[in-house]
């Protein structure tokens, strides 16, 4: 961490607080019925996306999955447009057409979240292929879960990327579960990162609660990518505090994981971990940290207001955005 700038450290803390407050507020307004549909809280996993995205530029690409709010916010997406999207409003990132699982901001390299597990993995690989064909040095990064790692799409993409030495970072967020299924019951090896060997690709196991560790590991992978040295598989060990999805009330907590396990992970809360480092190293005071949290809370509140005040799309907009080169509706 010697060679991690203060600017990056502070930005990481800011974005982690932003995501935390965003998610907490989303849970509140969702349960108040302000919008419906599924939404998958990222609380507890903030260090993963934030640390990883800190190693990227705006000209690099990311793609994500159903647990979809943390990734775009970590890459610098607009909290207002994200919130408005969840509210299904015209000022949302997708004009209300995508919702929680489909946030995207192509202007800063966010190629979009995806509701179908692992379906972003080939897409991100293709963005990296473009870098290779064009001889440019951008990289592409894809977030996917421990559950997702069992999909064939991952195998095919990793093999392709390794074969062609594409600048793609496969970032597996191992939060221990896919819905109610422990990764020990879905992945036949102990460490998903060990699967990198099957592609002759570097595989790295990282503490996903430690934003700095995430940043450093990703920075290395990104450097390799830019240098034309191919892909990297990073497995971030992390944990989701909340239930799989808002709206899946049937599954009670105790049935598939213990309170002890949750408590244990909460002790290594990623925001605490980073704040402890920053304060103990004298980079920020606790007061400064708290001020960051407050500022981000306010930003989220503003976004909620923004979203509430944004109009719904007009019925005439139903068919818009189907085609880049429009054709008549049948």
């Amino acid at each position: 961490m010697e060679n991690v700038s203060k600017e990056i450290l502070v930005q990481m803390l800011e974005r982690m607080w932003l995501i935390r407050h965003f998610e907490v507020r989303v849970m509140e307004v969702h349960s108040a019925g302000e919008f419906t549909g599924a939404a998958h809280p990222y609380i507890g996993e903030e260090a993963v996306a934030v640390g990883a995205c800190a190693a990227l530029k705006d000209t690099d690409y990311i793609a994500g999955n159903h647990r979809s709010h943390g990734h775009p916010l970590a890459k610098g997406g607009s909290v207002k447009r994200a919130m408005a999207e969840l509210y299904g409003r015209v000022d949302g990132y997708c004009k209300g057409k995508g919702g929680s699982m489909h946030l995207a901001d192509f202007s800063i390299g966010i190629l979009g979240e995806s509701g179908i597990v692992a379906s972003s993995v080939p897409v991100a690989t293709g963005a990296a292929l473009a870098a290779k064909i064009r001889g440019e040095d951008f990289v592409s990064m894809v977030f996917f879960g421990d559950g997702a790692s069992n999909q064939g799409a991952c195998h095919e993409s990793m093999n392709l990327a390794a074969l062609w030495q594409l600048p793609v970072i496969f970032l597996c967020e191992n939060n221990q579960f896919a819905v109610t299924t422990s990764y020990h019951d879905s992945v036949s090896v102990e460490h998903i990162s060990d699967r990198a060997a099957a592609y002759d690709m570097p595989g790295v196991l990282v503490d996903g609660q430690d934003a700095i560790a995430m940043y450093e590991a990703t920075r290395e992978a990104v450097a390799r990518g830019r240098a034309g040295e191919g892909p990297t598989l990073i497995e971030a060990l992390t944990y989701r505090y909340e239930e799989h999805s808002l709206g899946l009330g049937r599954v009670r907590r105790g049935e598939y994981r213990t309170q002890d396990q949750i408590d244990e992970w909460r002790e290594r809360d990623p925001i605490d971990v980073l704040e402890r480092t920053l304060t103990s190293q004298g980079i920020l005071t606790q007061e400064e940290c708290d001020a960051i949290s407050k500022a981000k809370e306010a930003e989220v509140e503003e976004a909620v207001e923004f979203a509430r005040n944004s109009p719904y799309p007009e019925p005439e907009e139903l068919f818009d955005d189907m085609w880049a080169d429009p054709i008549p509706a049948p």
Partner: protein
């Protein structure tokens, strides 16, 4: 013994009754032991880990494993959502649908895919597929679209006993609807026999899955206008009870088809094409298709609700067949 049940409970009953009846029946899917989608509640306790399998996220893999197990004497039930079938399309089409014919009848595949259609509740484009028309185009699947708890239970029980690959498209918009269901043998509902939940004389409305209650509402409204609507629920799309449809059109001379799937190459298109060929001389008016607009499912509720059929759209279509 008849009792009342909601649609999801009816499915649960069917699974329990058939698993109790036949040791070769087992069920697999994601997070089914803890019944995340509701239909598999209690199975683990009653039937144990060997017959109630939680799978990794590998639809192509485990849909195919179900096929392999069925070939050697098991009767698998696979739980999924329609939107996850794309991932497994190769095993569904290349193997489940084609294998028996390709092997000259040697293969028997008593496998049931239960696919929930999750539309209408703000699930957006990735989770809202109503894909039965695509599977209808591909020979080899029996395709069931229950619109009531009775049919959800009865058709699933029949499917589990059937020796061919069946896909049950369970309509999520009906998941909480309730109705009477039978028990045991009395609950079985045959394939290829349409239900006529309402008879009438002026216009035939063929309605599929979630469109059935809409058609019934529309029929009630139209009664006040003096229009007598006959509602036909095919219940199974493969096989399709085309005689029931043709007979009804022979009586009414007018046809509306209401279908929650995308309208191009839809089940509604198919029904229209059958009647325009085989029932042509009975027709006194254009055949009206009321199906989903040819657009993806938008997340925002203000747009989503515009996409699907509705009782209003059905009523308008019925009225249109009465103009000239």
């Amino acid at each position: 013994m008849a009792s009342n049940a909601i649609y999801v409970e009816a499915i649960n009953q069917a699974i329990i009754e058939e698993m109790a009846r036949d040791q070769s029946v087992f069920i697999m899917g994601e997070d089914i032991r803890r019944s995340v989608y509701g239909a598999t509640a209690g199975l683990l306790d009653q039937f144990g880990e060997k017959r109630v399998l939680d799978t990794p996220l590998s639809e192509n893999g485990f849909f195919g494993a179900a096929i392999g197990a069925s070939l050697v004497g098991m009767r698998p039930i696979v739980e999924t959502l329609t939107s996850f079938m794309w991932v497994a399309m190769d095993q569904l089409v290349s193997q489940a649908a084609k294998m028996r014919y390709m092997f000259g009848g040697q293969a028997t595949l008593p496998v049931v895919y239960r696919a929930t259609m999750f539309y209408g509740g703000g699930s957006a484009a990735h989770h809202s597929d109503r894909s039965y028309p695509m599977f209808m185009n591909m020979p080899g699947f029996k395709i069931l679209v229950p619109a009531t708890p009775r049919d959800a239970k009865g058709l699933l029980k029949t499917a589990i006993r059937d020796n061919d690959p069946c896909i049950v498209f369970e309509d999520g918009t009906l998941g909480g609807s309730s109705g009477e269901v039978e028990e045991g043998e009395a609950a079985l509902v045959p394939f290829g026999v349409a239900d006529v939940p309402r008879s009438g004389t002026d216009v035939t409305v063929v309605a599929i899955a979630g469109a059935v209650p809409m058609a019934l509402r529309s029929a009630e409204e139209l009664e006040d206008e003096g229009v007598s609507v006959e509602v036909i629920d095919p219940r199974t799309l493969v096989p399709l009870d085309k005689d029931a449809i043709l007979e009804s059109v022979a009586k009414t001379g007018r046809l509306v088809v209401a279908d929650p799937a995308h309208k191009v190459c839809s089940a509604a298109s198919e029904v229209a094409s059958i009647v325009s060929q085989e029932g042509f001389w009975d027709l006194q008016a254009p055949i009206m298709k009321v199906a989903a607009e040819q657009v993806h499912i938008p997340y925002t509720p203000v747009l989503e609700r515009l996409v699907y059929p509705s009782s209003e759209k059905i009523s308008d279509a019925v009225r249109a067949t009465l103009e000239d």
